[in-house]
Symmetry: none
Amino acid sequence: MLSAEIIAIGSELLTPTKTDTNSLWLTEKLNEIGIDVKLKTVVGDDELRLEEAVKDAIKRSDVIITTGGLGPTEDDITRTVTANAVGRELLYHNELENELRERFLGMGREMPEINKRQAFIIEGARILPNPNGSASGMLVEVGEKFLAVLPGPPRELKPMFENHVLPELSKLRGGVVFRKQILKVSGMGESAIDEAIAPIYSSYEKVRTSILFNKSDVEVHLTAQASSAREADILNNEIAQKIVRALGNAVFSTKGEEMEEVVGNLLKKMGKTLSTAESCTGGLIAGRITEVSGSSAYFIEGAVTYSNDAKMRTLNVPAEMLEKHGAVSAEVAEAMARGMRERARTDYAVAVTGIAGPDGGTEEKPVGTVYIGYADEDKVTSRKIIFPGDRYLIRWRTSQAALEILRRNLIKGQNE
Amino acid sequence: MLSAEIIAIGSELLTPTKTDTNSLWLTEKLNEIGIDVKLKTVVGDDELRLEEAVKDAIKRSDVIITTGGLGPTEDDITRTVTANAVGRELLYHNELENELRERFLGMGREMPEINKRQAFIIEGARILPNPNGSASGMLVEVGEKFLAVLPGPPRELKPMFENHVLPELSKLRGGVVFRKQILKVSGMGESAIDEAIAPIYSSYEKVRTSILFNKSDVEVHLTAQASSAREADILNNEIAQKIVRALGNAVFSTKGEEMEEVVGNLLKKMGKTLSTAESCTGGLIAGRITEVSGSSAYFIEGAVTYSNDAKMRTLNVPAEMLEKHGAVSAEVAEAMARGMRERARTDYAVAVTGIAGPDGGTEEKPVGTVYIGYADEDKVTSRKIIFPGDRYLIRWRTSQAALEILRRNLIKGQNE
């Protein structure tokens, strides 16, 4: 089994509030291809300590990954120090400087002179392109060892690792492959799920199963071990199908898709359209739906009717209804869904109104009280839920529940 | 300044889901008495790597803290390995074994034989009692260096550190306190900021400054060192004020506040109202604004006009304009802002339209092209920006830029 070490670089990672989360993601990716992480180091902008850490790592381990410290300022020491640690020069690459200049011009700015530093690359290293930032990565072979020098921001590091480092490392591995598959389940607790699926997963020796709670839902993680990716995928799929048979529609995702993707795929397949009307979630539902690329095919319009005036003006909620039942009520949630569907002329509409807190709760309607409205061509319904959690969680759980109600109705609609 | 290293021991800390949180707490405690954490290591139950880690740490740093690996089983290797690393014997302590036996009897159980291991202590070490568990800690002086060997469970580690290690370390120190303050800057790069403020921060010996890029903005982290928290805060404030004078309105936050809080506070103070109209961000801007508790005081309504129909229907964008200039244009961004402001009768409105990708880009308008519209009672304006990044980042950066344009206008309005 190959061994890896991860070195996270940056003084901010040595403060009481920052953890190195990149290494968790990297560990997962490395484990999936059968590489064991043996040691993790967090080091500040400290040349001596960093150089020693890199040298030790190269002595001890097969794969060394550094993250961070590739910015343009003086305390970004990774380029210089890793070059020293492997005993090579830093070479200036004119084409990298030109790319950087163009990048800055594209943002309407001149490239500051100090960014030139980012055009220096360790002698003999492969340059790893960074479409999401100005710091290129490097892949250096040191004898039989691999040193990958990656930028710190996760949005830059992850695609760079997946597209350029992982394929190289996978080549090193013959034998065993690990593949992961994630199922997501809505509306059931961890223990109920475990009871239902333990008889299934416990008969598979080559698949590791873990059950995790995540904000609103429960995830079932399957990690199959086999001699090829294809074989491992077949194994995962087999057990996933059995789990779906056991849990039914509660499984909303079998390949790790987010709820907004699942709903989007259903709408696209059915050729139907959607609109949303939001009060307490303030645009979060529309934001999640449109996070999915291609959502313009089915998402027509959203309204964030935060004030009562907006509810009346845009969704035709009657003033007397707001007066009589309050903005947070089943009647208003239904009127919002109906009004939105009519306004945007869509097949489906969902609406939410509630109290996200921390203020605004009453004895009758405590913080976390939410009404979710739903409208299609046949009916208008609503559901009351009281969510636990802080403002962030209440809003997130509300958005998830609204999408789940939509999903269940879409599945019914599809089967009719 | 004394330096410290923390070594977390245990293979479970090298899995994709576990982080070493003890080190955050320890870092905070150490910083409070003016000890800097220079390096953190996470190592599994691996004798060679652990011994090397401890030896390196003792060479480099003044205070070394290990956590974990003091249990009774065979993979609890910390006792043996730390003893080897400092070149001393493990000595059996009869009184510790007796205490352990009594402890087990108190729980109605016989002490298992393997727990005898926990009665071995490094020669010359001070024994640190553990009222919450069976593993004693150790405090070893190695020349002028301090090595503290602590158990992993936080409820055992924390009281042991506070009651027995901290007092010893405080004696080494005069009574120095560290405090942190975060400034956030919009519209300037890391390097331009560094150029502008290096003359300020470099004249403060007692304040450590670091400059970090974070998605759209740059953060300036100040960490002041003084003999009391009040003094350190005064020092931070002094340098923060000088930075604000140097960078002007580009500093949008001096106490770490998010952009949506800053804008919300300005609106609240001015007693003004806001509405939003979004295309490519799909509700993200409204979502961020309403993430702030109390935002109903100034946020009236948002529209997510994803389709052209919605732009016409809800924002009165003329069909001919959409036809002639396209939905992603300065004209439409301005019409959206104007239409939203009129619709919701608010003092201010911001609007965005753009191409978040990955599809939909053209040569003339590549992915990342965004127009941000702004309307107040005097004027309607727009600005074009081309953002780098993936769909997520383009959307996020667009939302940040829209809020920033609003903020700059609010500040102007406030000063008029």
